[in-house]
Amino acid sequence: MTATSAPRRAAAPPATGGGPAPARPLPWLLPVLFFIGLFYLWPIIDALRLAFTDASLLDREANFSLDAIGAMLGSAALGTVLRNTAVFTLGSVFGQLLLGLAIALLVVRGERNNLRGMLVLRTLVLAAWVIPGIANGVIWQMLFSEAPFGAINSTLRLVGIPPVAWLSNPDNAMMSAIIATVWQGTAYSMILLYAALRSIDDTLYEAAAVDAATPWERLWFITLPELRGALLVNAILIVIMTLNTFDVIISLTGGGPGRATEVLALYAYNTVFYNFDLAGGSVLSILLMAISLTLAAIVAMFLPRSGRP
């Protein structure tokens, strides 16, 4: 610092002294923006670019073309795939939310009554979550196996119930894929909802108890409204995760029998890695992203806005 500037600085009114730093956030945000741009935005932009080309894994020369968009959106299989995706996503999201909520309620209630084993229960449920999707698919494939020695069917037979065609029947296969996904994803919902449940003011339940509320009324008038935000955020995240799921399916059914469980993410994967169709796969990925964003936006509209009466 030079000699002349020092006194001037000392003489200046302490306008900024002691207060918060001047509002110039850009330098602070730049690193974050850079990494978000590099790892998130760039791939998206690249996929968008590729969607408008005739790029192939076998041919790196990509020229501008609208063919990929036309071919993918006009494909006869897309309808089936989208319907599968809708059924799979709806089933998985509702299944995970309901089961996650049920377990979270059970755990919170158990903890309130000082029941033993609640931590173990929580840990067990979480254990399902850390299993990789591929392994999860393999585990359920063994459980659902329709061989005479298949785990679930053998058990059913023991109690006198006829075996179920879990994976070979097209309708059941979708249900089985949903069960496997729900089994794994429930932990995620459970943890989110468990945290939200724990943060609900206990006196609300006491007030309701004094007001003679039944357990259902407590759930309906207190728990669910209080959980609304958590449920919706959870729903958004699960919708996006489920839409992008294909690892469980690829190892459980591979998308079959026929096309019965081929969802959009798997279809995009197959398009790139069976067909080498990079452009087509990009179109499908963009479509997947568009669907994710739209659904997320719709769910987000129901989010409670803070600060409003």
Binding site: D54, S56, L57, L58, D59, R60, D67, A68, A71, S75, A76, A77, Q141, F144, S145, E146, A147, P148, F149, A165, W166, L167, S168, N169, P170, A173, T253, G254, G255, G256, P257, G258, R259, A260, E262, N270, V272, F273, Y274, N275, F276, D277, A279, G280
Partner: protein
């Protein structure tokens, strides 16, 4: 660094330098001395040098160490492929085109055509004599040469599909589709599941089934490599083969669960559990049966050629792996060819894989067993998958089609029409 380590490091530095060099010849990512002046990158699968089976790994280590000693000044930098075959192979093409690929690599025989089409392979002509080339099985020779007769890869082992049966339940090997159905229904009457085969969404489903199409003389693609399986007389042959599978399930000769079978291990498990007496599997499963089942049970199992529409019309899908050079450096191509020969002869013999040259069956004692007579006889009717880039999509559509038909979700004709449409659209985009 802890104390014992320092001590042993010192001991090695003082007295054991040669031993150290020996120890270090094969590591997780390298074969040969680390400071060798020439390096070759080699991308391989996890079934030999890095096998989880210690005996296999040791045998290959010895092979490779001998090889490096014969080629002083060289080092092989090894790169392990992941198990995700389609993705791995597609990625390798992309890398090769960008100039980032390995110098030498194992390429799945079904993907070889894609590599040839992409123009990333270097000819190895000068390292093979005319006799050596002639010694390859015909379908192998077709697969590895281009139109100009260049040898673009070494198909070092092959495999094929056969019908396995429990001879106690099914004494006579079924020769025709009808005989198989009858035999399978008889096993069902005795409480077995019937005949098992891949029917889910997996390459095996299409590949195992294609034998039935090929046996009738069907062709997936024409000379120009265009898909034609849904046209002209191919269409009827294709539908015949589809109806054959459909009838197996509908009649109960095969259980409905075949549409959920996606690995050969499922069949092996059923054989081990004694719930089936018939299944379609790969030749390598013979050894697996011997090692998985109790000796007494294993002895009951025999392999036979896949049944055809008639006893004379036979085919079997043949696969296996190749080794190809992706580098332009002639010295490295030479090294790559030499490695390929390493696998072709002694490598095969150790693993009891099926060599692709007829003479090798005579050369090694490994191939003295009776099963190899069955295999080599069946190989006479061997059919490789067409060497075209559209093949993976054709296979994908066949898997979908067979699943839909066998699960009753579609009739053969409409399923074929849908598959044709999808394949044509994909082909148009290539």
């Amino acid at each position: 660094m802890n104390r014992p380590l320092i001590v042993s490091a010192l001991a090695l530095a003082i007295g054991g330098a040669p031993a150290l060099a020996q120890e270090d010849m094969v590591t997780r990512d390298r074969v040969g001395p680390a400071d060798a002046e020439n390096a070759l990158t080699f991308r391989l699968t996890a079934y030999d040098l890095y096998s989880s089976d210690e005996a296999t790994a040791t045998a290959f280590e010895e092979l490779f160490i001998d090889f490096i000693e014969d080629n002083p000044g060289w080092r092989i930098d090894t790169q392990l492929q992941t198990g995700n075959l389609n993705q791995e192979q597609a990625r390798m093409i992309e890398q090769a085109q960008a100039g980032r690929g390995p110098d030498c690599a194992m390429v799945d025989s079904s993907q070889l055509a894609t590599y040839k089409a992409a123009g990333v392979l270097s000819p190895m002509n000068e390292y093979f004599t005319e006799d050596e080339v002639a010694d390859f099985f015909p379908y192998v020779r077709d697969g590895i040469t281009d139109d100009a007769g260049n040898i673009l890869a070494v198909w070092w082992f092959t495999d094929l599909r056969v019908l396995y049966r429990n001879t106690e339940v099914v004494p006579e090997a079924p020769q025709t589709w009808e005989e198989l159905k009858t035999a399978a229904l008889e096993t069902v009457d005795e409480g077995y599941e019937g005949v098992l085969f891949n029917g889910g969404r997996t390459e095996g489903t299409a590949f195992d089934w294609l034998a039935n199409f090929w046996a009738q003389g069907g062709q997936l693609v024409n000379e120009a490599g265009e898909p034609v399986f849904y046209e002209g007389e191919n269409r009827e042959l294709f539908l015949e083969a589809v109806r054959y599978y459909e009838d197996l399930v509908e009649s109960g000769a095969a259980p409905a669960r075949v549409t959920s079978i996606t690995t050969y291990d499922d069949m092996l498990a059923a054989a081990a559990a004694g719930t089936t007496a018939l299944f379609v599997g790969g030749n390598w499963m013979y050894a697996q049966i011997q090692s998985t089942l109790p000796e007494e049970e294993a002895a009951k199992w025999e392999a036979s050629e896949l049944p055809g529409p008639t006893a004379d019309q036979r085919a079997t899908g043949t696969g296996g792996w190749t080794i190809a050079a992706l580098t332009d450096d002639p010295e490295k191509v030479r090294m790559c060819a030499a490695i390929a020969k390493l696998y072709l002869g002694p490598g095969n013999a150790f693993q009891a894989l099926l060599p692709t040259q007829a003479s090798l069956y005579e050369e090694y004692d490994t191939y003295a067993g009776p099963e190899f007579e069955v295999f080599s006889a069946a190989l006479e009717n061997g059919q490789a998958r067409p060497g075209v880039a559209i093949y993976p999509e054709i296979s994908n559509q066949i898997q979908i089609l067979l699943g839909e038909v066998m699960s009753g979700a579609a009739e053969p004709e409409e399923a074929l029409d849908a598959a044709a449409e999808a394949v044509e659209a994909a082909y148009a985009r290539q």
